[in-house]
Subunit: 129 residues, 2 copies
DNA sequence: CTGATGCATGAAGGAGCGTTCATATGTTCA
DNA sequence: TGAACATATGAACGCTCCTTCATGCATCAG
């Protein structure tokens, strides 16, 4: 529906994965934003990044990523409600895992692209202003 | 450094782009989270999605995405500080554009993966609990 | 049943974010 | 120079979010 554009690029090229895109409408934007917010916090990123390597029980997960058990559980509930992770009881433990490949890929690519952005960040790492 | 894992998948497979991944450390997580937060709000997603199609002057951008001029300018500053967009004066106007392909790709893939996640969302769209 | 372990939940506090209103800076034209 | 247009900035308010503390529920061992 939309034609291609030629981008003057800031620096190196990204591996252009041919993903069709359309301008977002307000509702899609809200949905995407909600899910992306789940990746927009260090604690949840650490959780997901750990689960990226394989399933893990809740308490061990908490200690591995350096969170309190309660805090970790809260975040896990959030990720569960968003459908990003799943938990399954095994005895007393609940073993968590990423929901599917989309989550893993989203994680990978977010990290990849962001680490490859040469940020023109000033000293102020302000997200607030 | 890390071996591959076999994922039981929730549903369909994602196009597995071979992106190397490592478990995030705390500082990387913070950096990634900061940038991802820029994509985690409807207003900024709309701005970026519009710019995904091509450069646009500030005021027109605001009207196109349905934001007040001031609000849009604030968000543009944020995106600028994060290095996601660049602005260039042309007469009285300032024309904005995505910084590079990484931004475009990140956007595309975020939308793609999220729209393809079959969210097990309950009625409560809670990001708050 | 009792205690111990593993995880979930509720409430509350403090911080950060997004919007709006008002105003300032910069640019062009007459 | 002065008026009009285009954008940026500052302050402030309301709201959401993340964490912590305390407690509740489930599961297993003895």
């Amino acid at each position: 529906m939309h034609q291609l554009y030629y981008w003057r690029m800031g620096h190196g090229a990204a591996p252009t994965t041919a993903v069709p895109h359309t301008r977002l409408d307000a509702t899609s934007a809200a949905r995407v934003a909600t899910t992306l917010q789940a990746l927009a916090t260090p604690s949840r990123l650490l959780i997901l990044s750990r689960l990226r390597e394989g399933p893990c029980a809740a308490t061990e997960l908490a200690t591995e990523v350096g969170l309190e058990q309660s805090a970790c559980s809260h975040q896990l509930r959030l990720l569960r409600n968003l459908g990003l992770v799943v938990g399954q009881r095994q005895g007393r433990q609940v073993v968590y895992a990423l929901y599917d490949n989309h989550v893993a890929a989203l994680l990978d690519q977010a990290v990849y692209h962001i680490e490859h952005l040469r940020l023109g960040l000033s000293d102020t790492p302000d997200l607030a202003e």
